[in-house]
Amino acid sequence: MDGERSGDVERRGDVERRRRPVGPLVRRILRYTLLVVAAVVVAFPIYITVVNALLSPQQIAARPPTLFPVHPQWGAFRSAFTLGNLGIFLRNSLLVTVAITVAEVATSALAGYAFAFIRFPFSRTVFVLFLATLMIPMEVTLVPNRETIVALGWFNSFPALIVPFLASGFGTFLFRQSFRGVPRDLHDAARLDGYGHWRFLTRVVLPLNRPAIGAFTVFAFLGAWNQYLWPLIVTETNGVRTVQIGLRQLQALSINQTNVIFAGTVLAALPIFVILIVFQKQLVRGLTAGAVKG
């Protein structure tokens, strides 16, 4: 299978090479200069965060700033764990985020499939209701949701952090739109070939919509990982609190150790980088999927 996929990529590469405009050199230099500047603007803060995590607080405060750690000091990372209990926070975040991401992708795929392929009464109305949830800002539901969580006896527990995010209106919408790109003939063919809804979903629809699924997985992961306000108001002990709150605490604890704050930030951002790298290809294709799908 992998061999075939690389075959696809090769062919796509051919097409791109053929299409590349052979504009005047100046325009190309200008374009790349602009891209380089943009890349630096985006990447520099990340770079400097990593650098600062490897410097001593004195080096960070020094002017002109140090742009390259000649003698990197890894101690700040250890301190982030010992001083800020970052290990527990990271574990909690990972648990909550993975649970939310898996659940959101699963429920959105199922709901999106139902809206795309199954005819049922009031499906349009229900779909509009799903969409309507996208219009409600999180701030509006914050207080009633917290009340609900408290009433359920879930305050300061993992269910409080996970359950409210098990389904996603946006994900349902995204998957429904993407799934509708699957030709009706494929659905009919699969039905005649002996596949029911579940197997058609898993064997045909999901593999064909990998870009959308990849994009949404990243989106869901980022959203869950970066949550701050909700975990803050439904938890009170570090045993269940997530890394964003942990970072905040770390900031308060290590005012004089800026390098530890930077190290904590790097650690908190690490999973996001990993997920971005893993899903990079899918993400780019997901963002452009609508443009090329026939």
């Binding site: 075939e4 696809d8 003939d185 005649l192 045909v204 064909l208």
Partner: protein, 386 residues
């Protein structure tokens, strides 16, 4: 539910060879399909015997694809009964009807290679891997796609995709094949080749085929029988020659044949010789030969519809029908001449090579040698027989 009776059959034969025929009759009894106010299929009654190659022919939107989907179980009829092998299957799920369909779009799974595409229905039926491999090898060899098994659908040509789609249908040994315009996406030469191959395949497999097309050449050359649909209503069903020679109504007459039959409306008048009749057409009058005149007299008609095949029209200096040539199509083995009659009506003339061909713009007179006309009722457009 009587699903077990159908699914319990030997979907994959133990012997597995392509030589083992499996086929079932298909019956439609007053089958109607409505979408809101629109009627796609109107009380269709049709019997397809086991092993028959029946072509459902009609212009686009005539309901032929809907009829096919009804048999497949992809649509539910509004009324009527559908039988496969004598058993009513209305309540049976598509996957339990033991029919395979070949789609106009081929409907290959783009993310799977050819082998996995062909295997797809076998995997659904949990056929063991060894048996699967054997069946795929056998079918792909017989369709000459054995060297494509590791490619994806996007990496093979249209004709090859068509074969893969056929292989996927054949591999599970269904009782009935449903084919929805399977050749219409192919270029002309490939289409001719595939026509012959499909006929050969049918002879080899002996499986019932219900084949939908709008192409009357496909219908004439491939079908054991042709069923012509128009606006959801069955117009005629019969063997190709019968449909060609004795069309049941003016629609069928005007649809079958290449170029199709000329359909002209005319008034009946006396010739003045004995009680002979002639038809007054837009460009002149033509005598009605006696057996046909007798029919017209018996029915007391004053007007009628005349059908005449292009090969039964001649450019004749002594002809009584006048018009001017608007177009000449030289096909090599024959020439098609379009003449506009004085009333504005076009009439096609088919001339064999060797016959003198008039030029566009030339004024000509036409005759119907031998009086090989077909008459249709002016109101119902039904065929008038003796």
């Amino acid at each position: 539910m009587t699903a077990s009776a159908v699914t319990g059959g030997p979907t994959v034969s133990p012997a597995g060879g392509l030589e083992l025929p499996r086929s079932a009759s298909v019956g439609l009894e007053g089958v109607t399909k409505r979408y809101g106010d629109a009627t796609a299929v109107d009380s269709l009654t049709l019997e397809i015997t086991a092993g028959e190659f029946l072509v459902l022919l009609g212009p686009s939107g005539c309901g032929k694809t809907t009829a096919l989907r009804l048999v497949a179980g992809l649509e539910e009829p509004t009324a009527g009964l559908i039988r496969i092998d004598g058993e009513v299957v209305n309540e049976l799920d598509a996957k339990d009807r033991d029919v395979a369909m070949v789609f106009q779009s081929y409907a290959l799974y783009p993310h799977l290679n050819v082998r996995r595409n062909i295997e797809f229905p076998l995997r659904a039926r949990h056929v063991a891997a060894e048996e699967r491999d054997r069946l795929v090898a056998e079918v792909s060899a017989s369709l000459r796609i054995g060297d494509l098994l590791d490619r994806r659908p996007a990496q093979i040509s249209g004709g090859q995709r068509q074969r893969v789609a056929l292989a996927r249908a054949i591999v599970r040994r269904p009782r009935v094949f449903l084919m929805d315009e399977p050749l219409s996406n192919l270029d002309a030469q490939l289409r001719t080749e595939m026509r012959a191959e499909l006929v050969e395949l049918h002879e080899r497999l002996g499986t019932t085929i219900l084949y939908v097309t709008h192409d009357q050449v496909e219908a004439m050359t491939m079908g054991d029988r042709i069923a012509i649909l128009y606006r959801g209503v069955l117009q005629q069903v019969g063997v190709p020659q019968e449909v060609h020679d004795r069309p049941a109504n003016a629609f069928v007459a005007g649809f079958i044949g290449s170029p199709p039959m000329n359909i002209l409306r005319g008034e009946l008048a006396a010739t003045g010789i004995a009680d002979g009749l002639q038809v007054v057409l837009p460009g002149g009058a033509v005598p009605l030969p006696e057996p046909l005149a007798a029919v017209a007299r018996r029915r007391g008609l004053t007007s009628l519809i005349v059908g005449v095949r292009p090969e039964h029209v001649a450019v004749d200096p002594a002809g009584t029908l006048s018009g001017s040539v608007t177009m000449v199509e030289a096909l090599g083995h024959e020439n098609h001449v379009a003449c506009r009659l004085e009333g504005g009506k076009l009439i096609m003339v088919r001339l064999a090579t060797g016959e003198p061909v008039p030029r566009p713009g030339e004024r000509v007179t036409l005759s119907f040698p031998g009086g090989r006309l077909q008459l249709f009722d002016p109101v119902t457009e039904e065929r008038l027989d003796g």
